[in-house]
């Protein structure tokens, strides 16, 4: 039965065998997919962090939390 890679039997002359992983000719495509995923992660992190910090800062400015945190006797986490 044909396999997904260059190996169909281990009864071979190893000196003549190169790559042994499956889908040997697909590495450029796999690289592109992996690169797209990782770059997407970084872009997502930049945007999500920016929006969440902006929202959080606005919320803190308008809420009692900041006043509570600024209270002199509320420094247990500082």
């Amino acid at each position: 039965m044909a396999s997904t890679g260059p190996i169909e039997s281990w009864n071979i002359n190893p000196t003549e065998v190169g790559p042994i992983y499956p889908f040997t000719g697909w590495t450029v495509l796999m690289f592109v997919a992996c690169a797209v995923f990782c770059v997407t992660f970084m872009v997502w992190k930049f945007f999500s962090e920016n929006s969440s910090y902006a929202a959080r800062a606005a919320q803190l400015r308008d809420s009692d939390e900041m006043a509570n945190s600024l209270s002199a006797d509320n420094n247990h986490l500082q």
Binding site: T15, E16, G18, P19, T27, A35, C38, M42, M66, L77
Partner: protein, 473 residues
């Protein structure tokens, strides 16, 4: 595949492969140590963010190092444009067959030769991983300095810049048997005082200039306030783990077994440095310990027994002596460590007060200043030694090392991160809003935790009341 058809040569190949694998596992402890150490130094309100910021540099540097960092090391030892052009290194390209499981026989890729596959099939992965762990270390050095106010995404981008680009270029130029700095300047940096530590310290300093100090760090007169660490034990255990991982770092800087005699006149197998110049594991082990000893002693002395600076002193001692620890006598390693840590400590406080630089963990001092001092001292102590087995390469000199220190600390360390941090600051993507900084980066998580705790306690009480009512009835 001539190496694997004979028990002795096969043993050498598999020993080398296993040797680097062990160093990688040991070096993993450096990162565990950095995480513990940074979280310990941070305040209670920031500890989870500090942990995640450092832990997630593992994937961000890893993917970037896989994509282009490894290739960069082999491609640019000539500059390019200084001693030659861009070099071809197909085995290090991310899509190359030698980045995956390979028996070392006939290549499928026409750009590879049989010699490439024979050499790299069993070494590419472990070499890649050893270099990657150095990259994580470079990123972690930045991480500690900037805690409690940098945005994570900005930090990871800067960590990629240092971990997968600038330190890799420094390594190609000055930490490679064919780097142009070795060839032309006689640059010598056996255990990476410069290419990792000075470079990352210079990078951290540049980022800190744009990032600014934490709120409340300095009084109006410019003197610093102490922001107490939330867990001293985490700091101490973290430092011990960094020391432990540093053993693996030292071993990984060596080639474990190779014929050191140029040409075919005779044969002599030894461990060598990355420059293929001979050394022994025995010698570097003693020097490591003597440098640690000198650093601990002077760190304790100058800080009057402060645990933080004592442990940092031990690390700074090793870093200062590392550039020449392949050849130093143990007493030389000891005194170089003493001098480096003393200077690093004094410089830290001078820079802190003069320029209001808030380096939360003293990374610029211990890595940047100690590493730079280490490179320069090597030029005097090893003056006239050959930098390479290649007789045409320049010898080690004070001016060669000084030029190397400037290139590493300022050109490759400081300048790129200064520009990148400036751009991030302009885009308002570098520092967190002051409101969030004040209440703490973990504030939302802590509030959610408190809400969850209150909810289940209320549920438990309700359950108990129901049960008591049933019992009474």
């Amino acid at each position: 595949m001539q190496s694997m058809d004979n028990e002795l040569t096969a043993l050498t190949v598999i020993f080398t492969e296993f040797y680097y694998w062990v160093t990688v596992v040991m070096m993993f402890l450096i990162h565990v140590g950095f995480c513990l150490y940074e979280v310990g130094v941070s305040r209670e309100k920031n500890k989870l963010n500090t942990l995640m910021k450092n832990a997630m540099l593992i994937p961000t540097i890893t993917f970037s190092f896989f994509f282009f960092g490894w290739w960069l090391y082999f491609a640019v030892p000539n500059g390019p444009g200084i001693t030659g052009g861009l070099k071809s290194a197909p085995w290090s390209e991310p899509w190359n067959e030698l980045m995956g499981p390979h028996l070392g026989g006939k290549p499928a890729n026409t750009r590879l030769t049989s010699a490439d596959t024979a050499v790299w099939s069993r070494l590419n992965g472990v070499f890649w991983a050893a270099f990657l762990l150095f990259s994580w270390t470079a990123g972690s050095i930045l991480s500690g300095a900037v805690i409690e106010r940098i945005r994570s995404a900005a930090f990871w981008l800067l960590a990629i810049l240092v971990g997968s680009i600038t330190w890799v270029i420094a390594a190609a130029w000055g930490w490679s048997d064919s780097g142009w700095m070795v060839e032309k300047l006689g640059y010598h940096d056996a255990y990476a005082s410069g290419v990792i530590h000075a470079l990352a310290g210079g990078s951290a300093l540049a980022i800190l200039i744009h990032l600014g100090p934490r709120i409340g760090r300095f009084r109006d007169d410019g003197t610093p306030r102490v922001l107490p660490a939330h867990n001293t034990w985490m700091i101490v255990i973290g430092m011990f783990l960094i020391y432990t991982g540093f053993w693996g770092f030292y071993a990984a800087c060596n080639v474990p077994i190779i014929d050191i005699v140029p040409g075919d006149t005779h044969t002599f197998f030894s461990a060598t440095t990355i420059y293929l110049t001979p050394t022994t594991l025995s010698a570097i082990t003693v020097n490591f310990l003597m440098a640690l000893t000198g650093g601990l002693l002077v760190g304790y002395m100058v800080s009057r027994g402060d645990p933080f600076w004592t442990f940092q002193g031990g690390l700074g001692g090793i870093i200062t002596a590392s550039a020449g620890n392949d050849l130093y006598h143990p007493f030389q390693a000891f005194f170089i460590a003493v001098a480096g840590v003393w200077c690093g400590y004094k410089l830290h406080y001078w820079v802190e007060r003069k320029f209001r630089i808030d380096d939360a963990v003293g990374a610029v001092a211990i890595h940047g200043y100690c590493g730079t001092i280490g490179i320069i001292v090597t030029g005097f102590v090893l003056w006239g030694y050959p930098s390479s087995p290649n007789a045409e390469y320049a010898t080690i000199t004070p001016w060669g090392q000084l030029a190397g220190a400037v290139i590493i600390f300022f050109v490759l360390g400081f300048a790129p991160c200064y520009l990148a941090a400036w751009a991030l600051k302009k885009a308002r993507m570098l520092r967190i809003p002051w409101e969030v900084e004040f209440v703490g980066l973990d504030h939302d998580m802590l509030m959610e935790e408190t809400a969850s705790r209150n909810e289940y306690i209320a549920a438990e009480r309700e359950h108990l009341r129901t049960w008591q009512t049933k019992e009474r009835d």
